[in-house]
Every structure is written in C-alpha cells, then in structure tokens.
C-alpha cells in the first residue's frame, strides 16, 4: 500500500478500489442479464409454448436480482 501511495504521490484508499471493482462486476452482470433477457424474448418468439410465460418471469427475476445486487453494492460496501 505504501509503495502504491509513493508511486501515485497521494493517499490511496484500497477499499475504495475494491468497492469500485465489486460495483463494476455487478454492473457487468446487470448488462449480461439484459442481454440474456433479450435473447430469451427472441427464443420465446421462435418457439411459443405453455412454458414461455414462466421463462419470461425468470428473465425479469434475473434482471431484478442483478439490479438489486448493483444497488446493494453501492449502498452497503
């Protein structure tokens, strides 16, 4: 840590960097959830059956969990 501070010439908050990495990870996951949701919609359009609404709900759940995790990363870290 001291080495990094000496290199940067300023104080270095390690945990701020770790927090930023967690937020970035959750953000990437949220973007991934959006892509997966869009692909699930495409799949459901290709093949519609009784299970399609369930798959749609799972997609919404995935986005909700990803968004919740992202907000939690901002608030609790």
């Amino acid at each position: 840590m001291a080495f990094i501070e000496a290199l940067l010439g300023r104080s270095f908050d390690f945990w701020l960097v770790v927090k930023a990495m967690f937020i970035l990870a959750y953000l990437v996951y949220f973007m991934f959830a959006l892509v997966v949701f869009r692909q699930m919609q495409l799949m459901a359009q290709t093949l519609e059956d009784a299970f399609s609404p369930v798959i749609g709900l799972v997609g919404y759940l995935l986005i909700f969990l990803a968004g919740f995790g992202l907000v939690a990363a901002f608030l609790f870290l």
Binding site: W15, K19, F22, M43, T46, L47, D49, A50, I55, L62
Partner: protein, 209 residues
Amino acid sequence: MRLMEGHKKPRTSKTYEKYKGRRNNNPLSSFAVCPTGIRFATQEEEEKVILLLRQHPIINIPWVTLTFVLLFAPILLDYIPLIDFLPVNFQVMALALWYLLVLAYVLGQFLYWYFNVYIVTDERVIDIDFFGLIYRDVTVTKIDKIQDVTFTQGGLLGSVFNYGNVFIQTAGESSKIDFLKVPNPADVVEIVSDLIDEEAQEDIDGRVK
C-alpha cells in the same frame, strides 16, 4: 378431378390423426407427440406439429452435477480462507455475486437445452439451434424433399435410456438435418417415414396444397 387453382381442400394429415392418440403436452418433454399449444416462428396456419423433440434429458446430468458442486462450494470457505481478508459486507456481496453467476450458468444451460428443438410437422422438418444464447440457426426442409431417414443408437447410455441420432438426408440446399441424442429415434424415423409416404400419396392423388 383436379381442384380449381386457388381452391384449397381442408387438410387433415393422416399421420397426425394416426399419432394424436399418443399426444404428450408436457412442456418439459423431450419427445412430444402432436403437442398442442405450441407455435414456432414460421408455422403456417394449417400446419400441425407432429413431433417436438429435444435432446434426451440425460445429457443435462453433467451441468446439473456441476451446479450442485458450485452451490455447495462456498462451504469450503470455512476451511480455505480465500476471502477472510475482506470485511464482512464485502464477503456477503462476494457470495451474492457467486450465486448470481451460478444462477446465470444454470439459466443458460437450461435455455440451451429447452430451445434447441427439432420440430416435425405435416409439411416440414425444422431444426432450431441457438449457439451461446446469441446466434440462432434455423434449418427447414420440406417433407417431400427428404430422400433418406436413418438413425444410430449405441453406447451404454444410449441403449439403456433409448436415445440416439436421427439423420435426415434431403435434396435441398441444406443437405442433411441431424437430430442429435433424441429419445426414441426408431419412433422418429417411423413418423418421418409415414409423413414421406403421405406426401407421396398426396402427390399421386393430385391434392392441391
């Protein structure tokens, strides 16, 4: 007497009538005969789905097993202090992210199995493939273009659980459609053969489609 051009006789597929007694409407089935409530993207109005096939559920065992391992892996953190250097709130968020990633893995594997389907209708054979959730490949061939239908079934699992590969040789641009690791491959060949015979008979009868 040939029908006037533009007049279409209501179509009833003899093969559909023959097999609809074996109807299976289970949405998670990998061998659904004459399923109702199913529509695919290019399905015509009077076109009837006779077979909806997926790979045999046994092929899901590897990723299901891996899922259980991943679910219980964090228990090892009690013995291997990988994230003990992090504050408690960071550990909780790390665990949450781990389980979200496992959820994404499970969802991806399930969607890959569920939506990679083979459909046999009274008019066509359709192979729908999704690659990596991003790319979609749909191969369609008409029943009257099919030249040859064969199947292979082998290995311990294939014999015990009755699944194999069905190969459909066509005369069109897509020269071959393969149904890989589908249940009851002999029944699939029988149904497709019945459809080929029905198309040939309709050609002889001169029925307008």
